[in-house]
């Protein structure tokens, strides 16, 4: 990927900095894309750390318009998140929205869902002047203070923009859904899943060959990067078979995020929040994959070609 960019895009002969800030701005990672060894480009200053808002407080505060986090993606099966949020749509008015691009969206169904309002889906910013309101993103609570902005004032990229280039799996109906509420108490430094810490929890048992849909409901005020070992996390961005494969899925405060897993790696796997303290204090589950070819247990563990790294 990087090699491709170097070869194809740096024909202007300049070096470019790739700059990634941590959310709390405690540090950054910097890389350089350059046509020649030794070239560097300007490294930007860290920006101000974002602040949480009421919207990031989930169930802790009572506020209208926060139901976005509970939005049921099933009702939006045909909706194209990417197009909805892409910046091609910035100037689009509501009449255009009924065009063929949106044909998959079932308006009657949406109307029947009292929890969903149009502003929560990004329509609010469409057809309005640029820069007046930030575009909505289904992976951040509406009005979230954590919503990133592009440093050059353009469009920021988020999970909603991710799309698989080469789907690894056929798209198919999941066999079942498992809800995992991400829970904790910041004052007590306690972290758990479904209110139960790892030490008190039973393993999650999956059957080899099934496709499981996980529903993450983040009830806390922190972002939890959830990492399933051994198998891919197929993040639901509403793209069907083009949904991207990920190792870690970051779940922002007060949001609900869905991912699906093709259970193709027998054995026992760790599933946890990737903030070390959260994992160590109990936001952790053991996944047991039952069944499957016996030889695959050893093979899968050794070659590691079954999906995510362990």
């Amino acid at each position: 990927m990087l090699g491709l960019l170097c070869g194809a895009s740096l024909i202007d002969g300049k070096a470019y900095t790739i700059f990634a800030e941590s959310m709390g701005r405690s540090g950054f990672a910097r890389g350089t894309l350059a046509p020649e060894k030794g070239m560097t480009a300007k490294v930007p200053e860290l920006r101000e750390a974002p602040l949480l808002t009421m919207a990031d407080m989930a169930g802790h505060m009572d506020h209208g318009g926060m139901d976005h986090g509970n939005m049921d993606h099933d009702d939006m099966g045909g909706m194209n998140h990417k197009d909805m949020n892409s910046h091609d749509m910035a100037g689009m008015d509501h009449s255009d929205m009924k065009s063929d691009d949106m044909a998959g969206m079932d308006h009657s169904d949406m109307g029947g869902n009292a929890k969903m309002d149009h502003s929560a889906m990004g329509h609010g910013s469409m057809g309005q002047g640029e820069g007046e309101t930030l575009p909505e993103d289904p992976f951040y609570a509406k009005g979230s203070g954590l919503m990133p902005t592009a440093s050059n004032g353009g469009k920021f990229l988020s999970y909603a923009d991710l799309k698989a280039q080469n789907p690894l799996y056929e798209d198919r109906e999941p066999t079942r859904e498992i809800e995992l509420r991400l829970t904790g108490n910041m004052e007590r430094y306690e972290w758990s899943i479904n209110g139960t810490k790892y030490e008190d929890a039973d393993p999650i048992v999956l059957q080899y060959g099934e496709r499981v849909r996980f529903k993450f409901v983040n009830e806390t005020m922190m972002t939890h990067p959830m990492h399933l070992h051994g198998m891919w996390s197929i993040l639901d961005v509403g793209e069907g078979k083009w949904n991207p494969l990920k190792h870690v899925i970051s779940v922002a405060p007060a949001t609900t995020v869905y991912m699906e897993t093709e259970v193709d790696a027998p054995g026992e796997w760790a599933f946890h929040c990737h903030l070390s303290y959260h994992a160590a204090s109990g936001m952790f589950r053991k996944i047991v994959v039952e069944g499957g070819p016996d030889s695959a247990v050893a093979e899968g563990k050794q070659s590691g070609n079954q999906g995510g790294e362990s």
């Binding site: 004052e187 007590r188 810490k197 790892y198 030490e199 994992a279 204090s281 047991v288």
Partner: protein, 247 residues
């Protein structure tokens, strides 16, 4: 024959364990991955006080705990060393068990042993400690002494983060007794209040924060009369200099 059956049984268990070791054994990850017990030592106050009547005091308030999220054992220490008398004016040790009763509240139960200059007392303690709305740290306890006297104390503290390092903390303490215990200078009703304002700076992370501040102490009613009779003061202003420590 029985013995053989038993060993056969053992053998088949062992085979099952080999075939599926992780299911048969206690999950070792549970011991390593989940931090089960915690400990901490802190001194909320470790200070020198200089009063408006030239009295000098050293005051220590600290605690140490060990336990799990569900149950902690805590030792709380409070001492006031008076320079003029070369003696502990206050010397309290509490040993309590503490358990969560709500999202932000813990209940405490245990004993308090007072061994200052003068008569000693032992109390049974029932307490409630936690975080009230708008971030007031509250601690309140009911004490019943070995003399049969009951009293209640109430403490509240608010920390205003001027910056992430400069912290202004306001504290309020009061003691109310339900009966008189003249031997230790306790009258019936509101005994005393202490109001403090301290400005601290977190010098080494959160573990060492020196501060300066002012403290106002006042005694009321019969308690004030008892203090006057024994030649003590009933109202004092102090300038304080100290540090908050946490390990």
């Amino acid at each position: 024959m029985n013995r053989l059956a038993v060993s056969m049984c053992g053998l088949s268990l062992a085979v099952a364990a080999l075939a599926n070791p992780a299911v048969a054994q206690e999950d070792p990850a549970k011991k390593t991955q989940t931090a089960k017990t915690f400990w901490g030592v802190s001194a909320e106050k470790f200070e020198y006080r200089y009063s408006d009547s030239d009295e000098e005091l050293a005051v220590i308030e600290g605690d140490a705990y060990y336990g799990t999220d569900e149950l902690k054992f805590r030792w709380l220490f409070e001492g006031e060393w008076e320079e003029a008398h070369n003696a502990w004016e206050t010397l309290e040790n509490q040993f309590v068990a503490q358990t969560p009763v709500d999202d932000f509240w813990d209940a405490k139960a245990g004993v308090r042993i007072d061994t200052p200059e003068g008569p000693d007392r032992v109390y049974g303690v029932l307490g409630l400690t936690g975080l009230a709305p708008y971030w007031f740290e509250v601690d309140t306890n009911l004490y019943v002494s070995d003399e049969g006297d009951a009293s209640v104390d109430f403490e509240a503290e608010y920390e205003l983060l001027v910056t992430n390092f400069w912290i202004m903390s306001a504290s309020f303490e009061s003691l109310v007794a339900f009966s008189e215990d003249r031997a230790i200078g306790v009258g019936k009703g509101l005994n005393s209040t202490e109001v403090g304002l301290r400005l601290s700076y977190d010098l080494l992370d959160r573990s060492f924060a020196p501060y300066v501040g002012v403290v106002h102490e006042r005694k009321y009613g019969d308690t004030a009369d008892l203090a006057r009779d024994s030649g003590g003061s009933t109202e004092d202003w102090f300038a304080v200099l100290g540090a908050r420590m946490m390990f």
